[in-house]
């Protein structure tokens, strides 16, 4: 049984969603939950399927958790990616930025089961699998920037 695809939101609704991105400053545990909840809400309003919205929520909480445990906090945002006039797709973009110590070895950080903290070591590789596009790069001013997109 294939889940029914909901129709995409109307243009007016999209314009509203584009303006109403999620921006959460992560500095304590409740912020993680708030970010995850808001990202899920955004995904649902964009018409993502239940499981895709759940993936977005989980990816958000993984990224926010990383910000808190490894960089002592950071910014997390979720935005609408409107490529209807290019590739014809609608997506949801997650962006996690911190001013932490940076990731020494990005390839290693994406390895299953590797963790510098006390985690399970499946957060970042998990996010990569939960989302469709993914990139991890050092920020110009120091720190790390993780970008991930889920397409509808």
């Amino acid at each position: 049984m294939k889940p029914e695809r909901t129709p995409p939101p109307s243009d007016a609704a999209l314009a509203e969603l584009a303006a109403a991105g999620v921006r959460v400053l992560i500095s304590s545990e409740p912020d993680i939950m708030a970010a995850s909840r808001q990202a899920r809400l955004l995904a649902e309003r964009l018409g993502f399927s239940r499981s895709a919205a759940y993936h977005v929520a989980t990816a958000t909480s993984e990224l926010a958790n990383n910000l808190l445990t490894h960089a002592g906090g950071g910014r997390l945002s979720a935005n609408l990616l409107d490529e209807r006039f290019g590739s014809g797709r609608l997506g949801l973009e997650l962006l996690a930025e911190d001013e932490g110590p940076g990731i020494a070895d990005p390839a290693l950080a994406l390895t299953e089961g590797y963790s510098t903290g006390r985690g399970l070591g499946c957060g970042l590789p998990g996010v990569k699998r939960l989302m469709d596009d993914f990139s991890l790069e050092p920020r110009p001013g120091g720190g790390t920037r993780v970008w991930a997109v889920k397409w509808r």
Binding site: E29, T58, S61, L120
Partner: protein
């Protein structure tokens, strides 16, 4: 020679008080019943404010919480904060008194300017407003902290389903504090009831991610050491998919889709089953 405030205190106390109370009744008390004790409290506060104003002006007025005025004000604010009144109303009622006093001051002596007195009035009410604001926020914060504590208490019941069978329904967000409390309660109950099976129902957990999974694994490990088996129930299809994508494995944990199936499984482990009353007994 008396200062302007001493003259106000002496000659117009009753009128000014009546003015203020009247103003408060028409502006702020319209929507809710107005307990008579409030008027008395307001009068006490009014007298204390007037006494402070009639005292020696200082350049830097800061309200001492231990002074008489400080105690009266914080008592009044505490009551308003507990009744979930609007903070703007609390401060607004103080500022209303300030404008009444300012007008009285100007009317008192049209000949000589009362600038020094007005400035003193301003300093005192600035101090009072800051103090009121701070106590209001303090009290609300304490209320919120108390409420979230009681919510935490409420949200982690360990239920006894049957002899040696426990049920732990998890509802809501599982953060570090919650996980610790859940584990503590569960272990206590397992020991108390000598539980052989514990059903962990995750139906009410909004998002499963690695940190939640990690908390659950620790809880499960500790519970196992006390000799109970864990039956996990209520993982949604999306949750299951997400957990596999994250590469998380709950080794050696029996999992059932629904709480119903989980209870049946748990009873089976302790050698029971739920059967209809009129079931034909084997001959």
């Amino acid at each position: 020679m008396n200062t302007a405030f001493q003259r106000l205190q002496h000659d117009q106390r009753a009128e000014l008080l009546a003015d203020w109370l009247q103003h408060l009744t028409t502006t702020f008390d319209r929507h809710h019943a107005h307990p008579s004790s409030l008027d008395i409290q307001r009068e006490v506060l009014f007298n204390a404010i007037l006494a402070t104003l009639a005292g020696v002006p200082s350049d830097d007025f800061r309200l001492d919480p231990e002074s008489e005025l400080g105690r009266h004000l914080s008592r009044l604010i505490a009551e308003q904060a507990r009744q979930l009144a609007n903070p703007a109303d609390s401060i607004g009622s103080l500022l209303a008194l300030k404008s009444i006093l300012a007008r009285a001051l100007i009317a008192l002596d049209a000949e000589s300017p009362v600038i020094d007195e007005l400035l003193w009035l301003d300093r005192v009410f600035d101090g009072l407003s800051l103090f009121a604001f701070k106590s209001f926020v303090d009290i609300r914060e304490r209320l919120i902290a108390e409420q979230s504590l009681s919510l935490l208490e409420l949200s982690t019941p360990v239920l006894r389903v049957w002899h040696q069978v426990l049920l732990l329904p998890l509802v809501g967000v599982i953060d570090t504090q919650r996980a610790r409390q859940v584990t503590e309660r569960l272990l206590e109950s397992i020991a108390q009831y000598e539980a052989r099976v514990t059903i962990l129902d995750l139906t009410g957990v909004p998002v499963l991610d690695t940190s939640v999974a990690q908390h659950l694994m620790k809880t499960i490990d500790a519970a196992r050491l006390l000799g109970t088996r864990i039956v996990m129930t209520g993982i949604s299809p999306e949750g299951a998919q997400t957990l596999t994508k994250l590469g998380i494995r709950f080794a050696d944990v029996i999992s059932r889709a629904t709480l119903r199936a989980g209870i049946a499984e748990a009873l089976l482990i302790v050698g029971r089953r739920i059967a209809p009353l009129n079931e034909e007994r084997p001959a």
